[in-house]
């Protein structure tokens, strides 16, 4: 009996192999005519498809991987959607044309390398790296070896750029954020006894936590409580909060994304514990969670490069378009994705690059451009990059008041 099962699988495998070959052929022949990433299908009034279908032969093929499904899907989809809006705007304006393709990596290094290879088969010329840190660490090794330039919107670990001359970041590196947060807290005298709650199976959280502790110790700040949570253990925070409260912490530092943070605020509120809260850029997005009571986040401070409530024309335009297209308010991942595409447009323009150049030629041009140019985006102004690939921009200290961000300085 088992043989027949086996036969069926063999058939399935042959078929899937055929499909595999078919899809890669199809990808290269029809690559320019459609934009697979244009997924705003639910909004019929969206003009985006017109813009992107224009970009036929003479378009730069730009690709990225990110978690579009699974538990981290929110980050990947945001970066993808943000980049898509930038591509649509740039293509509609004429001049440089982009053909954008995002592939799903389910927040996994193995799948990220698969996704990257699929993009390579498609003919990607410049890369948006990966959205999350660990997968990006894996793909950056590949892009480095293949000499494809990559600018990641949001993979913030230092391992992404370390020792690789053609890997650049749009976001701060994690150590940068940890140090900056500790400095900020010390300089502004925000708290004397500090508690930290962090996610101990997450590279992002761990990176910030470690440098924060180092800087806090160097400055003689007292860290009185240091507790963790992990995947599958991220719903109940009563123990962590009790520990902070018991040790008299007057400021709680939360190097994490906004999802668990929203639970922490709600549970602290129910306990009647009201310290000062201090977050990092992952906290951005908390106010736009559907159904979230902004009163819970009242007085939360965070260092973030982007805020969706900013009134400058660029941000307002982006937020409006994002809302029209996807029905949601963009978070910082979306803004990072948007900025990446614009940074590429500026660099390609300045370098006089043309879409018929090879990935390797573009790689050299982009390295030269990014280490010398200054870029103004919605996640920061006067951004510059050094040869290591790390961005230099200043985080904005924000405080949440009456359900909106207000600059702290």
């Amino acid at each position: 009996m088992k043989k027949f099962t086996c036969f069926l699988i063999a058939l399935a495998m042959v078929m899937s192999l055929a499909a595999c070959g078919g899809s890669s052929n199809g990808g290269s022949s029809t690559g320019g005519s459609t934009t697979p990433a244009a997924s705003g299908g639910s909004t019929a009034t969206e003009p985006a498809p017109d813009g992107s279908t224009e970009a036929a032969a003479g378009a730069f093929k730009i690709g990225g991987t990110g978690p579009l499904t699974g538990g981290a899907a929110i980050y990947g989809n945001a970066a993808k959607n943000g980049a898509q809006i930038a591509v649509d705007e740039i293509n509609a304006a004429g001049g440089i044309q982009f053909d954008l393709r995002y592939e799903d990596d389910t927040h996994d290094a193995e799948k990220a390398v698969n996704a990257y290879n699929a993009l390579k088969d498609w003919g990607m010329q410049i890369s948006l790296g990966s959205v999350t840190s660990k997968p990006c660490e894996a793909t950056s090794t590949e892009t480095y070896a293949d000499r494809i330039f990559a600018l990641t919107p949001s993979a913030s670990s230092t391992a992404v750029i370390e020792g690789k001359d053609n890997q650049f970041q749009m976001c701060f590196t994690d150590p940068n954020q940890g140090t900056a947060s500790a400095q900020y807290i010390a300089e502004q005298n925000l708290g004397t006894k500090i508690a930290i709650i962090w996610k101990n199976d997450d590279v992002y959280s761990k990176g910030i936590h470690d440098t924060f502790i180092d800087e806090a110790n160097a400055r003689g700040m007292a860290v009185v409580s240091d507790t963790t949570f992990a995947d599958g253990n991220d719903t109940d925070f009563s123990v962590q909060l009790s520990d902070a409260q018991k040790n008299g912490a007057d400021l709680v530092f939360l190097p994490m994304y906004y999802q668990p943070a929203s639970l922490i605020f709600a549970q602290a509120n129910a306990m009647g514990y009201a310290p000062k809260w201090f977050g990092v850029d992952g906290m951005d997005g908390i106010l736009t969670m559907e159904g979230f009571d902004p009163a819970l986040a009242e007085g939360v401070m965070l260092l973030t490069p982007f805020n969706a409530d900013a009134t400058d024309a660029k941000t307002a335009n982006f937020v409006q378009k994002y809302q029209d297209a996807f029905g949601e308010i963009p978070n910082q991942f979306a803004a990072d994705g948007y900025d990446c595409v614009y940074a590429y447009a500026q660099a390609l323009q300045a370098a006089g690059a043309t879409p018929d150049m090879t990935a390797e030629q573009l790689n050299d041009l982009m390295i030269a451009q990014f280490t010398s140019m200054t870029f103004d985006g919605i996640t920061g102004t006067s951004m510059t990059w050094d040869a290591s690939g790390a961005v230099s921009k200043s985080p904005k200290g924000m405080i949440i008041q009456n359900g909106a961000y207000v600059g702290m300085d």
Partner: protein
């Protein structure tokens, strides 16, 4: 006082595990199948309730009812399409199909409701005259707080447990279920329609999942397409802890697991709490191989 506080947190968390475990154990006990899609049915229930209440402004009880109805229907459809054709197949094949269903529900939810987290409304909160929201009862002069959600969850667990015990003991359908769980072949010979009995089991299990989803998200109000998967696995562990197939065992196992998890975090290490919980599970199973309240299986030679 902190000990009592931790105990209350543990019971709160445990009661959530317990209510999920009840659904697991019910389906396992009768259909002898580990339904790994149970956690995802919970997620669907929570989404239905969220949309009915937050988007369409329906009152909370209607939202819960809608969730129960949709999940029951979903359970019936899934059972008919995916599990029923495999009735004669080895149990592992059904397990894999259940995993397929779990992937399907998660990804369908992702497409339907996007990955953006939703904050579930708290149905169990009272507003005082000055506008402050109370979510629980204060004891011992405000040093201890039991949230309303916990009280409701425990009450729901006990009611469901009693109802299930009564149902399986006293109704015709319930007796048929017990007969199926003992011996499917013999049940069939006695004139019991095994197929439809198992279908009804799934319908009830899915309806319970909807209630569990609403309570899970009321206690921990964060709703994403993967919301159900980890609590599902923990609840499965809880069900085994208590003796899988045993209805009071699910309640006991769930609460113990929750208390154990909180105590491990509080007194040993927040980093290793999961490892400690699973280590305790292993010890329990070595001492009592069929769980705390499970019936020891006699092997016939």
């Amino acid at each position: 006082m902190s000990f009592l506080n931790y105990l209350i947190s543990g019971i709160s968390l445990g009661s959530i595990y317990a209510i999920i475990a009840l659904g697991y154990t019910m389906v396992y006990g009768i259909a002898k199948m580990l339904n790994f899609a149970h956690g995802d049915v919970i997620m669907v229930g929570a989404y239905i309730c969220f949309y009915s209440v937050s988007r369409f402004g329906l009152p909370a009880p209607v939202g819960v009812l809608a969730a129960v109805l949709v999940c029951t229907a979903l359970g019936i459809v899934v059972e008919r399409l995916a599990y029923k054709p495999l009735r004669a197949a080895p149990s592992l094949a059904v397990l894999i199909t259940a995993i397929g269903v779990s992937y399907f529900l998660q990804n369908a939810a992702l497409l339907l409701w996007t990955s953006n987290p939703k904050v579930f409304p708290n149905f169990f909160a009272a507003k005082k005259a000055d506008g402050t929201v109370i979510t629980g009862i204060d004891l011992a002069g405000g040093q201890l707080t039991i949230s309303y959600v916990t009280i409701v969850t425990i009450a729901a667990c006990v009611i469901i447990m009693l109802a299930l015990t009564w149902f399986t003991g006293n109704t015709k359908m319930g007796k048929a279920m017990r007969a199926c769980s003992e011996d499917k072949g013999a049940a069939q010979l006695m004139g019991i329609d095994v197929n439809s009995t198992i279908s009804v089991t799934f319908a009830i299990g899915s309806g319970l999942a909807a209630i569990a989803g609403v309570l899970l998200c009321s206690a921990y109000p964060n709703l994403v397409p993967t919301t159900g998967s980890m609590p599902g696995i923990k609840a499965f562990t809880a069900a085994v802890f208590g003796g899988i197939g045993s209805i009071p065992g699910a309640l006991l196992g769930g609460i113990l697991l929750g208390v154990l998890e909180i105590f491990a975090k509080a007194y040993i290490s927040t980093q290793l709490s999961d490892a400690i919980v699973f280590a305790a599970l292993i010890v329990v199973l070595l001492v009592k191989p069929s769980g705390l309240l499970g019936k020891p299986i006699r092997e016939k030679v």
